[in-house]
Every structure is written in C-alpha cells, then in structure tokens.
Symmetry: C2
C-alpha cells in the first residue's frame, strides 16, 4: 500500500542529496561556523529542495516553543517602522512573548539570511515587511512551517497572512487631492523600486491619478533614490532646477519630504508659497517640521497591534490566513496649498 | 590534593539545589514553556547562585558560536539609538555576524528578561545601553561569561567594557555656554532619572555648571518626565507659565526639545526671540526642525562602530576590558541666542 502522504525527508536523505555525512548536515543546521561556506550552501540547498525539517512532528514543534518572535524591518535608522513595531512588541509582550528585531538595510539577500538566523535561533514566528521577495524564501517558510505575517502590505499573493493597506490607492487619493488643488506641474521623488512593493505601489498610484486627470504619466519627472534625508534633499534640488519649475514635489515618504523641506529652506524657497511638498506615512516627524507636512496617514499602531494578533493566532493554529486591509487617510497640513 | 579551581557546578548540583529532577532543570534552560513559572524561577535562582553554565568548557563554547549578537535598547520609537545601532550592525555584519535587537521600553525588569532570552537564543555577545542596572544582572552575565559591551556610557564601575561619553561633562559645557550667553532664568526638562544614568549625568552637569556660575541649583525648576514628544511639549508649557518666565529651556534630549519647540509654536512663542531651547544627542531631527536645534553632538556612528569592535575583540578573548570615552561637542544652531 502506498503511503497516504509523501515520505517525510530524513537527515539521511539530505546527506545523500548533498553528498556529505549526516554529521555535516547536522553541523550546518546547528553550528554554521564549523562548516565551509560552500558546503553549507550545498547542504542548505538540499534541505530546501527536500523540505527537510529537523522536527517534523507538530506536537514536538509546539513543545519547542521559545516564546520568541522575530521581526525583520528594512531599516532602524529612521522612524518609519518604529511606531508600528513598538505596538507590535507591546501586544506580544502582553502575551508573554519577547520580540527580536533585525534590520535588512533594504537588502533582500540580507533579509533572507536574517530569516534563517531567526528560525535557527528558535523564533516561534516572524513579521516581515512588504510582500516582494524571492519565491524561495516563501517556499522555505512554508516547508519549515514558520508562522509568518507580512505587514505594510495587504497582498495575499503568496498565501501568507498580511496586515497593511493599499499603497497604490492611498497615494492615488493624495495625487487626486493635489490635482484638485490646481497643481499641474508635479515632480515625484520615489524610494528605490526594486524589491520594494510599497514604493512601487505609491508611484503607480500617482501615475494612475495623473492618467485619470488627463496627464501623460511619462511627462512627469520621477527621481528614484535611497531613503535618506540627504537623498530627498538632493532629488528636490534637481527637480527645482527644471524649467518650468514644479509647483509641487510629491515624495514617497516623510523622510524624503523632510529632506526636500530642509533643502527648500537652504535654497531660499518658501514652502508652500514657492513650492508645495507632500509626504507619506505620517510619522511623528511630519507634524514637527515647519511647515508641517501634508501626508498620507498610516495607522502604524493599529497595524502593529493587528499584526501581533494575527501572528499569535497563526502560531496557535486557530485561524486561516488572510489579508487584512486597514484604512488610511490624508492628513492635510501647511506644506501643500492650492494654486 | 585540593583542586586548583573551585569545582565546576553540574546539572546535578542545580537539580539538588532547586529540589527538582535534572530533566526539569534541562527543560528550564531549553524550553521554558513546559515548566511552571514558579518552578522555573526556583531553578533559575539555583542556576544563578551556583554559576552553572551548560557548556563550561571554553572550547565547547567557542564551537557553539552562533554569530548572532544581541542588543537591548531602551526604545525603538524615536531615533535616539537608531544611528548608533545601524553603525553597530554594519560593523558586525562585515564580520559575518547578525544583530538581533530588543527594546526594553526603559523598564529594567524587561531588560533583564530580554538579556536572558537573548542568551537562551544563543547570542555570542550583548550590547547594553548605559551602566545603571541591578547587580544581579551583572553577576549573571559574569557567571555565564557572556561577552558584553555597554554603550552610551563610559562607566567602568561594573568591570564591563564600555564605549560612550561623559554625559555630565557634556551637558555641563552646554550649560556653561548658555550662561556665557547671558541666560540666568534657566528651566530644565529631564528624562526620568531612575535607572537612567544618562539622564542623571546630564542633570548633574547642569547643576554643576549653575553652581560654578554662582547660582543655587535648587532654585532652578526641573521637570522630570517620559521621553515622548508630548512629554516635552507639556513640560515646556508648564515652565513657560512660571513668573518670571525662563529665558531658556534646557532639555535632556532632542526629542523632548522637539516637543518643546512644537508647543512654543502652538503657544505663539517665537524661538529664540521669546525663549531659547536646547537639546542633547544631535539626532537627525535636530537639524530638520525650525529653528534648528542647538544641542550636544554625540558621535553616534563612531560609538556604534567602536562598540562593535570592542564586542568582537571581547568575544575573541583578545582584549582586556576597558572604558572608551569619545569626545562630544556642542552644535550651535538657531534655537539658542544670547540675551
């Protein structure tokens, strides 16, 4: 009689596939420092290909709970993810979980490495930002049965629970507002698009809005740049040297907008009299700048709290995975005025 | 013949001391979810009292390296620790280490719990902020031989390596400057002093400077408050309702100062014409506010980089522990003017 399920891969299977001893496989899984990089990569490929999990049995897995949760965010250097993460941690802590956070510096390779580290360190579950990453990472998380929630996105493309908002629709509605206020000469500062579905969605939202208002999206200048204050400042200066000069510079997030605002002052340009500036995220900074920033308000605390709840439910095996979409709104402040 | 060293405590010793089976001790160390809180606490007390370490042998310890480093910072929510941490991570990553970060929300109990979690998850070393914490934590780190570096402090009181600066001297020199510019009616907004040697040192620096200038430190109003923007704003408003009104409000950090600045605007007070405001840290925000903030410049990146180097040296066993003191300076900007 054929087995009802495919056979569970064993340590022996991995060793055979990678052409190493079982002791080497074991070392790769537990103590990577003792194995050459080349061997480790070969073994990990075999582990992934076979879907080998050191403790397959669900009961054994449950018993091995560490009450530790891992989160990987693109950056710790600005406050974009800080408030949501704090709420995520508070919710987890109330349930007896400790949060360990890692920062991937917006690098997919580094994120993949950190996912493996957190799993190796025994994380009961993971929080990841956005949905765009290599399929092999999703395959890895699925095979290892790691409870995972994606935040800052409401994508369900990969079958993982997510908690976020529609970046495209949110930015489209801000662009609609900007155009309703009479702006026609629009310039855009976007974050790096590769591997960042948030940046991609926001730019798409602006383009859709332009098209709906009868403007060719390709006629609007877009500068794609890193997420540092200085990047926003430099891109702003480049935009403002164009003729004719834009009447509004729409920025992919508040950090870029803060850079634009500071460079405007250095250039002797008044905001919003000479040029309007908009952001995205409504981090604390947005309300502290002068003039205060018109931006898309993201419910950071709610997102963090709901992500924690979803993750705990997933760990408990109590819930089907789903995409949770939260409402965002536009916060009108002094940096945007009608023309 | 008597042994040259005290006998190494065994699992049996711990089990006997805690009056449980060796299996229970093992579960407490590896899988705390399966043991009642009461039992776990009793066992952990015995582990600490005996100085039991699962793998005492140094060679075994080295072989067990995970290339994971833990850092516990008081908060992720504002950018105070972000830039230093980023440099810390970059330096570690270049050496093949992954950083896991935990936030203690300025709560000593939570920090102690997170230290244990990171050690249990196999951290090869730890970065902690400041030097003020319970002696039992230092004893725990010493007994478990966990390589640890303290940052944001140059204290060597506990015999652990540290990388920081003299908070007291730095704030004293800013207070000297403030008084040299003619200010006599000074008000202070301080962070919570308990368990925070940075806040305590900064306040002490102001008091020393006042005394040196012939002012009774006790005559100067001090509001001690949490580290949120809103706390700074509320404290500023309270100070400005005093008669006579202060001519300068010195804040324990830039976040409190940002709150003060924003409340000044809401109250219709011009900075620096009506009142000067100073900060501490020189986080990115300080240069983005309007007016830009006069503050103490802390070399965040250098501190993070040096902390990582010290920690790696400590892990490698190559270096005696020492306190590294970095130079800080005053960044004069528009929020402070002479009267």
């Amino acid at each position: 009689m054929a087995p009802a399920h495919p056979p569970i891969p064993t340590l022996d299977d991995v060793a055979r596939a990678a052409n190493v001893s079982t002791a080497t496989v074991s070392r790769c899984l537990n103590d990577k420092s003792k194995v050459s990089r080349e061997t480790r990569e070969r073994v990990m490929r075999a582990v992934d290909a076979l879907g080998y999990t050191p403790n397959f049995n669900a009961r054994a897995m449950a018993a091995r709970r560490t009450h530790t949760i891992g989160a990987i965010i693109p950056t710790m250097e600005n406050a974009i993810f800080a408030r949501g993460l704090q709420a995520f941690q508070e919710t987890l802590h109330a349930e007896g979980y400790t949060l360990l956070v890692s920062s991937s510096a917006y690098q997919p390779d580094l994120e993949a490495e950190q996912i493996r580290t957190l799993v190796a360190r025994g994380a009961d579950g993971l929080l990841l930002i956005g949905a765009e990453r290599g399929q092999q990472i999703y395959d890895y998380l699925t095979r290892r049965a790691i409870p995972t929630v994606l935040a800052w996105t409401s994508s369900f493309d990969h079958g993982f629970a997510s908690v976020g908002f529609d970046n495209c629709a949110a930015m489209r509605s801000l662009a609609d507002q900007v155009q309703a206020m009479g702006h026609r000469r629009i310039a855009v500062i976007s974050g790096i698009l590769a591997g960042n579905d948030r940046a991609e969605g926001r730019l798409r939202g602006i383009r859709e809005s332009l098209r709906a208002h009868g403007t060719d999206p390709d006629s609007v200048p877009v500068i794609e740049t890193g997420y540092e204050i200085e990047n926003g400042a430099d891109a702003f200066e480049t935009h403002m040297k164009r003729a004719p000069r834009p009447t509004v510079v729409m920025c992919g997030n508040d950090v870029l907008a803060a850079g634009a605002l500071s460079r405007a002052r250095a250039m002797g340009l008044r905001v919003p009299e000479d040029v309007s500036i908009t952001g995205f995220d409504d981090i604390e900074l947005a309300g502290l700048l002068y003039p205060r920033l018109t931006t898309v308000h993201v419910p950071h605390r709610q997102m963090g709290r709901v992500a924690a709840q979803e993750l705990l439910e997933t760990i408990a095996g109590r819930k089907p995975r789903a995409a949770r979409e939260l409402a965002v709104s536009i916060t009108m402040r002094e940096s945007l005025k009608a023309i």
